[in-house]
Each structure stands twice: as C-alpha cells, then as structure tokens.
C-alpha cells in the first residue's frame, strides 16, 4: 500500500496535532490540580493564609486565654472548655478506693506499681490481708493486691487506721 506524499504530510500533521492535544490536556490538568490542592505558590493566596494563621496564633498565645494560669476554664482550639483536673470518680481495682480520674495514674503507682511505696504495701500486709479476705471481701486475683495497709504510708493520707479497712 503506497501512500503518496501529500496525504502523508497531512496525516503526519494530524497525528502531531493529536499528540500535542494530549500534552495540552495533561498540562491543563496538572495546573488545575496544583491550584485546587493549594500546592501552587500563588502569592496572593499565601499571603492571606499567612495572615490568617498569624491571627490564630495570636489568639492562642494571648495571656487571657492561657489555660494553665486560669484554673478551671481552658479553651482549646475547638472552643470547648474543660476543667484542668479530670474530676470523674473511679474505683481502683486494686485497693477499691474511690479515686479521681486525674489522680488515678499517680495512685496506681503507689497502689500496684514498682515504687518503694508499693513494695512496702506488699511486704507488710500479707497476713493482715489474709485475715481480711476471710471476712468476705470481693475476690482479688492479684498476688500483689495485699495492700490493706495498716502501717499508714505517706501516700495513703491517713485514711486507714490500724487493722481496719474500708469496704470498697
């Protein structure tokens, strides 16, 4: 099949145009994507965004909004307020005491942790704990949970007196 030259040229131009159109669509699509995603360094927009973010930062660092010095009423970025110490009460599964949520972690440290105070609880109260179990207290499965303290460690704040324990 012999193709004469004139047709050939026209065909070539046609295909060239085809290729070029595809490239043009690619470029347009790419520019469009960059603009829509905000990835393009469009000066005006960026300046506006910078000033908006500077305003937001100023609001946050404003001393009148500083939560730490303001006691109970902290305002976070969503505009919600919450007290600085979590106040919901939980029962410690170890010793059965009622503990505030915000004090729970430190309490557990002494209660069942690895600190000196926790170990003291274990060593001094094994026998007295066994006595207490016989009184029908709820079953505690931890071997370390023998902390019906009778020696009054500092962390307990004197809630227990000797040889007595609180019902959970």
């Amino acid at each position: 099949m012999f193709v004469p030259n004139e047709d050939n040229t026209q065909l070539s131009s046609h295909f060239f145009g085809d290729l070029l159109d595809s490239v043009i669509v690619d470029v347009a699509s790419e520019s469009h994507r960059l603009a829509k995603l905000g990835l393009d360094r469009n000066l005006e927009e960026e300046e506006e965004e910078m000033s908006l973010s500077a305003q937001a930062r100023a609001r946050v660092s404003d001393p009148s909004n500083n939560g730490e010095t303001n006691g109970k009423h902290v305002v976070d970025i969503f505009g919600q307020t919450y007290p600085s110490v979590a106040s919901k009460i939980f029962e410690c599964m170890n010793c059965g005491r009622s503990i505030a949520a915000g004090r729970f972690a430190p309490h557990l440290e002494t209660c069942m942790g690895t600190g000196r105070k926790a170990r003291l609880k274990v060593t001094r109260s094994t026998t007295s704990a066994q006595n207490r179990y016989s009184r029908g207290s709820p079953v505690l499965t931890y071997s370390l949970s023998t902390n019906r303290l009778s020696n009054g460690t500092p962390g307990v704040a004197g809630e227990y007196s000797n040889d007595t324990y609180k019902e959970p």
Binding site: M1, D7, N8, F15, L19, L20, A28, E30
Partner: protein, 111 residues
C-alpha cells in the same frame, strides 16, 4: 407497553454496513499497538519541557486561575485557554522533528 419494545433495532456491526476503518484509523491503531505513539508522546513532552513551552503554558493557567479564583476554574476552561496559544507556540525544530518521525513511521507501516 414497555418503551423497550418500541426502540429501534440494535445497529448491526460496522462491517455489515460496509463501514470500513479509514486509513487514519488503521494507522492510529498501528501507532498504538506498536508502542510508537507512546514513545512519540514522551519525546514530545520532553522537548516541550526543555524549550520552556510547558512553563509558559502553566504560567498562563496560573494567571487565569489567579484572576478567576481557584474554585471557579475547570480543566475544560484551561484546555480551551491554552490550546490555541499552545499549538501556535511549539518551536519549529520540535515540530519538524516530530513530524519527521511520524512520517518515517507511516512509510514503514505502509509497506
């Protein structure tokens, strides 16, 4: 009565009606199947980047988007925007090179 009953009969396959693929279509298929179209496209893209044509087109797009606001622009707008300018501003040597390669292919495909 269902509308589907009254619809026109499904058109027969093209061969039955004597519609043969045009020379253009045949060559297009050959271009694609041989992978030459892809190669030519990559070559054209590379050349247009090297000579700054792509940057020029992107600048035109950015200016337009800046003016219109980025939420009011469609890909279609941009295509229509840069097609005339784009076609006109392809450097002559790039165009000549690509045309030459296409012509070579046509010769080889025609034999």
């Amino acid at each position: 009565m269902k509308h589907s009953v009254n619809r026109p009969p499904t058109p027969d396959a093209a061969e039955d009606q004597g519609k043969e693929p045009t020379l253009q279509e045949i060559i297009n298929i050959k271009l694609i199947e041989s992978g030459e179209k892809e190669r030519l496209m990559e070559l054209l893209r590379e050349r247009l980047i090297d000579c700054g044509w792509k940057d020029e087109m992107k600048a035109i797009c950015r200016a337009y988007i800046k003016k219109k606001g980025r939420n009011n622009v469609t890909v279609d707008d941009l295509v229509h925007l840069i097609t005339p300018k784009g076609r006109a501003s392809v450097p002559d040597n790039v165009k000549a090179d690509l045309l030459q390669r296409i012509r070579t292919f046509l010769m080889s495909a025609a034999l």
